[in-house]
């Protein structure tokens, strides 16, 4: 199975034995309470994914092949292999395009899939994984920065006399 990335400059083909690596030079990421938070340190853009998307992120960033990720998602969510394959490939392409993961070369490192499978079936029903991008974060932060050096004010609040 192949998937063509939408690059203008070069086209990369994803196959079921393709595997990706975390772009650690430009990206910081963490999965919190089942939600993946990903930050592109170069652009200041934030991303989030929950549910199956967070699982796919965890697996792909571990260097597992797309085929193995598809199998894991099928097993965990009871979704069809075809749907899982489509969603994993689409998301992988998107993550590469956003420079969060990179297409790796050579043989993938061995992964203990059993450890991940021990997590059991998902508690949430499957929904199409979506990469939520927040492209305005850097601009918003630049727009309204904190006010260093501004002294604390003695304002007690209007008509409060200490009581709101």
């Amino acid at each position: 199975m192949t998937f063509t990335l939408g690059f203008v400059e070069r086209k990369q083909m994803l196959r079921s034995d393709s595997w990706l690596v975390f772009n650690e030079e430009e990206v910081a990421a963490k999965v919190m309470d089942g939600e993946a938070i990903i930050i592109n340190l170069e652009s200041g853009m934030y991303y989030s994914m929950d549910g199956a998307g967070a699982d796919i992120w965890s697996l792909l960033s571990e260097g597992i092949t797309l085929g193995q990720v598809q199998t894991a998602i099928t097993s965990r969510y009871g979704v069809s292999a075809e749907d899982a394959a489509h969603d994993v490939e689409r998301l992988a392409a998107q993550l590469i395009e956003e420079r969060l993961l990179r297409l790796a070369e050579g043989a993938p490192k061995p992964i203990d899939m059993a450890a991940w499978a021990n997590g059991g079936p998902a508690t949430q029903p499957y929904s199409t994984p979506e990469l939520n991008a927040y492209r305005d974060m850097a601009d918003l932060l630049a727009l309204d920065p904190p006010m260093p050096g501004l002294r604390a004010t003695p304002w007690q609040g209007p008509e409060t006399d200490g009581n709101a």
Partner: protein
């Protein structure tokens, strides 16, 4: 009703929006709503957990946590927000901002499901764009209801996110009528007053330039710039450069309860903002029966009626600003009448009571106490 009120700037941070928020929460608390405030530290050394009267205030290092590379702090702040939502269990989250800290609310909505009310009253955030892949779009999309402080803000927002028209209300900003006694303005000698945070957007540099055009024409004229902020030193230097420093009073930071007295000393209140989502300073001047000269920008065009309660002039023109101020000073009787008309109009159109009632009513509708708003 339990309301998690979310605003980056909250007491003791100061500004028109913060004063309005403090009054609103105070009055709605008196009607039985139970608030907890989520606010940002914003550079001040304030406690993480505090109280504003009876209302708990939780301050977070949002800006610091949102700097790229601060993922551990981001995770910590997120955890704290989750814990706060789970312990307080609000019926409603009322976000009175459109800023980056909203990301923390969006990412923790599943921690405790509640209705989400978003109030849009800061124009700057709308200027950054970002399309559908933005905090702003996702917050507007996620909100069960959106309120706007002015028609201008509603139009601007709907231009960016046209598919939310069915879920919004215009609730014009308001202020409590200042208790200071209202006397007719004095014009002998003329005194111009500008009030606001000393940042570039407020346009006080243009006011100084306009003032420099008037200083030789009106004996004893003075200009008071009331407020503090990042460009204060720059403005002081600019006043020296223009040769008007001896006639300009920089009042610095003034507590909100003392602003009406200072504003009442004005013959004319000047609002030279390059942009305003609403124009609370102009409204406060109106309640004090002071005529206003302002630039015709943003929400100011809804607060000031040109030729009736003040003059609106094309933005960024110190010459037009000076001309309009001169028209006021040359005809004190007309200017005084404008001030009286401004107060009358403000009482009719920007009633504080109606403002509080509107939010009280909307809270009830959003939380199912009234039936005609469906929370998604």
């Amino acid at each position: 009703m339990k309301v998690l009120y979310w605003a980056d700037g909250f007491w003791p941070h100061i500004g028109g929006i913060e004063v309005r928020a403090a009054n609103l929460l105070g009055d709605l608390s008196a009607r039985g709503h139970e608030y907890t405030v989520v606010a940002a530290h914003l550079g001040l050394d304030l406690p993480d957990v505090d109280r504003f009267g009876d209302i708990p205030v939780h301050r977070f290092h949002f800006w610091e946590a949102l700097q790229p590379g601060k993922l551990e702090l981001f995770a910590e702040v997120r955890r704290e927000i989750v814990a706060l939502k789970r312990s307080f269990q609000p019926d409603l989250v009322h976000a009175d901002l459109l800023g980056p800290s909203l990301l923390f609310h969006l990412l923790t909505r599943n921690a405790h499901r509640s209705a989400f009310l978003l109030t849009v009253q800061q124009h700057g955030s709308l200027t950054v764009g970002g399309g559908t892949d933005s905090v702003l779009y996702r917050a507007l999309e996620a909100a069960d209801w959106v309120t706007f402080c002015s028609k201008f803000m509603r139009d601007e927002t709907l231009r960016l996110v046209p598919d939310i028209p069915a879920r919004n209300t215009l609730i014009p900003n308001a202020i409590k009528v200042p208790e200071a006694s209202v006397a007719a303005p004095s014009f002998a000698p003329p005194r111009l007053v500008c009030v606001g945070r000393m940042d570039r957007r407020k346009g006080f540099d243009i006011a100084l330039k306009a003032f420099s055009r008037l200083i030789d024409r009106y004996s004893g004229i003075r200009l008071a710039l009331v407020g503090d902020g990042p460009v204060l030193a720059e403005l002081k230097s600019f006043a020296v450069e223009l040769g008007v420093a001896g006639s300009v009073d920089f009042a610095g930071w003034v507590s909100p309860e003392n602003v009406p007295a200072l504003m009442s000393e004005a013959s004319v209140v000047v609002v030279p903002s390059r942009l305003e989502a609403f124009g609370l300073t102009a409204l406060e001047a109106a309640f004090l029966a002071r005529p206003v000269v302002a630039f015709a920008v943003g929400g100011l065009t809804e607060v000031v009626e040109d030729g009736r309660t003040g003059y609106l002039v094309p933005p960024d023109s110190d010459m037009r600003l000076a001309e309009a101020i001169a028209r006021m000073l040359d005809d004190p009787a007309a200017a005084t009448k404008m001030g009286a008309e401004a107060r009358s109009l403000a009482i009719r159109q920007f009633s504080w009571q109606r403002h509080v009632d509107s939010y009280d009513d909307l809270y009830a509708r959003l939380c199912g106490e009234k039936a005609d708003v469906t929370v998604r």
